[in-house]
């Protein structure tokens, strides 16, 4: 090495005392840094690395879970939709059935009413017929009595008798109606 102890002020001279002190200083710093500082820092760095990796894993797991729950939810929703559609279908059928039933009932009722009305009309007609027949009989006998009571010579007289009879009849009818009113 460039050790020149002879020269008093030579900068290229190595002072072995300083050399030794320098070595001691380096050793002290090295042991401190290697034993305490750097391993601690490295450990924390590794731990953080692990934590971040673990965090990512946790996040992935949570995401998978959420996906599963979403899937379940979606299935349930679909099921609900399906059930709703079924219910709707059923309701429609029921409605149709109810309408058909009601319509049938209504028809039956209508038919019954019509029949009753017809029966009533028939009965009225029968009654009127019976009454009319009675009246026509008495009127005929009455008319016949009048005709016989008059002289039945000429047809004009006969006609007059008939006309008068009918007038009377009409008048009596109208008076009867007026009475009724």
């Amino acid at each position: 090495m460039l050790v020149e102890l002879a020269a008093e002020e030579n900068i290229l001279r190595i002072d072995w005392v300083k050399f030794a002190f320098g070595l001691i200083a380096l050793a002290v710093v090295y042991f401190f840094v290697a034993r305490k500082a750097v391993p601690k820092v490295m450990k924390v760095l590794d731990e953080r690395h692990d934590a971040i990796e673990g965090g990512i894993e946790r996040a992935q797991r949570a995401e998978a879970e959420a996906e599963e729950i979403r899937q379940q939810y979606r299935e349930k929703l679909e099921e609900a939709h399906r059930e709703y559609a079924q219910e709707l279908e059923k309701a429609k059928e029921q409605r149709a059935a109810i309408i058909a039933e009601a319509r049938e009932e209504a028809q039956v009722e209508a038919r019954r009413i019509v029949e009753a009305a017809q029966a009533q009309i028939e009965a009225d007609r029968q009654q009127a017929f019976v009454q009319l027949r009675n009246e026509i009989g008495s009127l005929s006998t009455d008319l016949a009595g009048r005709i016989v009571g008059e002289t039945l010579n000429d047809s004009a007289a006969q006609n007059r008798v008939v006309d008068r009879f009918l007038e009377e009849l009409e008048q009596s009818e109208s008076t009867k109606q007026a009475e009724v009113r």
Binding site: L2, E4, N10, I11, L12
Partner: protein
């Protein structure tokens, strides 16, 4: 004052001359090294290693000049 007379140590001038070559060399090493890294940034690691090896070798010459300036 006599301008022509040179006082002091001639070794310093010798050192100055010896450093010219090393200066140019170090410039070339780092310049071309930068160019190489710019062309292939992915090869940065080995390039950097070799740049500094070449730099150390070239600067050794300048440092030898420095030593000789003081030692002789």
């Amino acid at each position: 004052m006599d301008i022509a007379a040179i006082e002091g140590n001639l070794n310093s001038i010798g050192y100055g001359i010896s450093v010219i070559g090393a200066g140019i060399g170090v410039g070339i090493v780092f310049g071309l090294g930068m160019q190489a890294i710019a062309r292939q940034p992915e090869a940065r690691g080995p390039l950097q290693t070799n740049i500094f090896l070449g730099f150390a070798l070239i600067e050794a010459l300048a440092i030898l000049g420095f030593v000789l300036a003081f030692a002789i």
